[in-house]
Amino acid sequence: MSKMHLKMTVNGAEVETLAEPRELLIHVLRERLNLTGPHIGCDTSHCGACTVDMNGKSVKACTVVAAQANGASITTIEGLGTPDALHVLQRMFREHHGLQCGFCTPGMITRAWRLLQENPNPTEEEVRFGMSGNLCRCTGYQNIVKSILAAAAEMNAVKEAAE
């Protein structure tokens, strides 16, 4: 079967790659673009480990075929921070022990990043509802919610200080 020329904006950079239309977006990102931050967990659109941002919305990259993403703008965990300059969400997940094994964490943080843009000042309940598409089998969610609320508080404090 012939491959198609995929053009996407990934983490702010224009990228081009060849892929079969039926490949899943998560495979294109991980195997063709070497962005192994987003993980493959359940592969059935339940767990959210593969969550990336597509055209400004959180999506599960295991349930998007490559061809659908042609022309799209994608942000992955690699686009949020670097080991030397962590995103505030990454810092707060570390500070508040928002992870144990870490497998769900890239999806958690990428989803939380979009959630805090949609709702910069969420209640605990809104965080839980907004994160309900991401499963964690270690933490019991308590510290994940705490990390996201702490990140929201710091982001809001920084915003206020700038105003």
């Binding site: 079967m1 198609m4 079969e20 239309p21 039926r22 490949e23 899943l24 495979h27 592969d43 059935t44 659109s45 339940h46 959210g48 969550t51 919305k57 959180s58 999506v59 599960k60 349930t63 998007v64 075929v65 061809a67 659908q68 042609n70 989803r111 959630l115 907004g130 994160m131 309900s132 598409g133």
Partner: protein
């Protein structure tokens, strides 16, 4: 899991999409949000030779809230429905229902057109559309036609839409009075064990009109006409709710599965309908 081979199409208007569907017949499938079809393709339970992605067709988007009619394009997502203040003001039961579908990521992709056209008895919007007495707009090679939601569903995954037609929009009248969509599910993202859509109006101390439809309790959505009628003229007290539940139970035909045996489905159906009626009445 990776889908089988397909040829990908991304038409930019409905006419082109219909042309591709006509050319390839039952080899072709329309793709809306893909969150029902792609999992089926990954499991190789759906073999699609030509995938017709509707994402680039502007005429399938848009929510129009008119004084007498609300029209929602087929490619409007559940997230779009939840975010639309005008729609929520005119028919708040839409957002209440959409919020109970799957999770935020899935609602960003899943569309109203896909939800109602797929014919999956587990989907929530079909019963809501029957409750609202909505109409579905279909376009095919013979032109456009309209089918009532209450006449659209024939059996599981079998609807009045033919393979060469696209469902392009749904429309219904704004709702007044009380409303509720009540859904029992085992976990976030699950289909309903049972769910009930209720719309009713009040005249003084009694119920003036009521419409009730149920999700995932037969191989199609169930508009329980007699259940609605059982509320009309009553003060919606315990006896009236009991009568409505009994009428609803006579209209459903659930099957036992991993969500529970038949008797349990009947029990949960009664519970969700009782809650839905009480909440709708409190809002009327």
């Amino acid at each position: 899991m990776i889908p089988g081979h397909f040829e990908y199409h991304r038409p930019t208007d409905v006419a082109s999409a219909l042309g591709i569907l006509a050319t390839h017949g039952d080899e072709a499938r329309a793709l809306a949000g893909g969150h029902s079809l792609i999992p089926m393709m990954k499991l190789r339970m759906a073999a699609v030779g030509h995938l017709v992605d509707l994402q680039a067709i502007p005429e399938l988007r848009g929510i129009e809230v008119g004084p007498g009619r609300i029209r929602i394009g087929a490619m409007v997502t559940q997230a779009d429905i939840i975010a639309h203040a005008g729609l929520t003001a005119a028919a708040p039961i839409l957002a209440e229902t959409a919020l109970m579908i799957a999770d935020p990521q899935v609602r960003n992709m899943g569309t109203i057109g896909g939800n109602v056209a797929n014919g999956d008895p587990g989907n929530d919007m079909p019963a809501l559309m029957q409750c609202l007495d909505a109409s579905f707009e279909l376009r095919g090679p013979e032109g456009a036609r309209t089918v009532k939601a209450r006449a659209f569903y024939e059996s599981a995954y079998v609807t009045a839409r033919s393979d060469d037609e696209l469902l392009t929009a749904v429309s219904f009248a704004p709702t007044g009075g009380g409303y509720a969509y009540e859904k029992q599910k085992r976990k976030v993202g699950d289909y309903a064990t049972a769910a009930a859509a209720v719309i009713l109006t009040r005249a003084g101390a009694t119920c003036a009109s009521a419409s009730i439809a149920m999700t995932n309790l037969a191989d199609t959505p169930v508009w329980a006409e007699a259940a609605g009628a059982a509320l009309v003229g009553t003060p919606v007290d315990a006896a009236a709710i009991k009568a409505a539940v009994a009428a609803m139970r006579a209209a459903i035909s659930p099957t036992g599965d991993n969500r529970g045996p038949v008797a349990f489905k009947h029990h949960v159906a009664g519970a969700v309908l009782g809650h839905a009626i009480a909440r709708a009445w409190s809002r009327a």
